[in-house]
Symmetry: C2
Subunit: 119 residues, 2 copies
DNA sequence: TGAACATATGAACAATTGCTCATGTGAAAA
DNA sequence: TTTTCACATGAGCAATTGTTCATATGTTCA
């Protein structure tokens, strides 16, 4: 076995040079982390439901809670997460705060996911 | 206050009929759940890294572990999750099992996420 | 068959997460 | 100003999750 070879998988698999290339092809650690964090936000059915409701109409927190049959507190906590991820925006109007989708990426990401599920 | 109105948000927000419509516009509970489950799979940086590596080349478990500097066991556990979500496929070749991306949805979902992050 | 290797998997543990409950903040009306 | 309503948020708890460790399964070769 040549000196530069990696001692793995006996002899059938990759070696140092090739592994280096694969590693080099990865995005920054930060970007990978941020990507995972973004998808984590989509990875909860309450938040997915909030987003779907907002597809249809801008809504205040109270109505979101009513529409999804959840407490106002639970919805507020989730809205905070969605807002931090820049998936929704909040607009104050008197006592109420109206939430809406931040941009069209939200729709396309969810659509892509839906396509995958439908096989 | 009319009988059919919902007793929420005083008087400025939605009422029963409108809320019904919003609720009716939601996909099945099952589909919402499946969608969240799918995104949950993308919501871990180890799995994102595995997918990124597989963008470049089909690899056996052992090399994936080496490329990502993780134990074989950790990688195997994650591959199982990725496989269940039909994001990767495994192909046995002798003692090794080679994993590859299952289809192009994986790439487009990740690309959409990346676009969102880059603002 | 038995040994060696690649991979899969179950149990256990620490860390994270989503909800509830109580309370804080901000805006409008009395 | 004080009250009331809409929303935000911190603490606490149960449930979930990712990794490690030990071990099981499956394949090749002697």
């Amino acid at each position: 076995m040549a000196i530069n070879d990696v001692e793995i998988c006996e002899d059938r698999c990759l070696h140092t040079d090739r592994l280096e290339k694969v590693r080099a092809g990865l995005p920054d650690e930060d970007e990978l982390y941020d990507l995972a964090e973004l998808f984590k936000v989509f990875g909860d059915s309450t938040r997915i439901r909030i987003l779907y409701v907002l597809f249809q109409s801008e809504l205040c927190v109270c109505d979101l809670a009513e529409a999804l049959q959840m407490t106002q507190s639970a919805i507020s906590h989730q809205l905070k997460i969605l807002k931090q991820a820049k998936l929704v925006t909040g607009r104050r109007e008197g006592k109420s705060v109206f939430y809406a989708l931040a941009d069209d990426h939200v729709r396309s990401i969810i659509d892509q996911g839906r396509e995958h599920i439908e096989e």
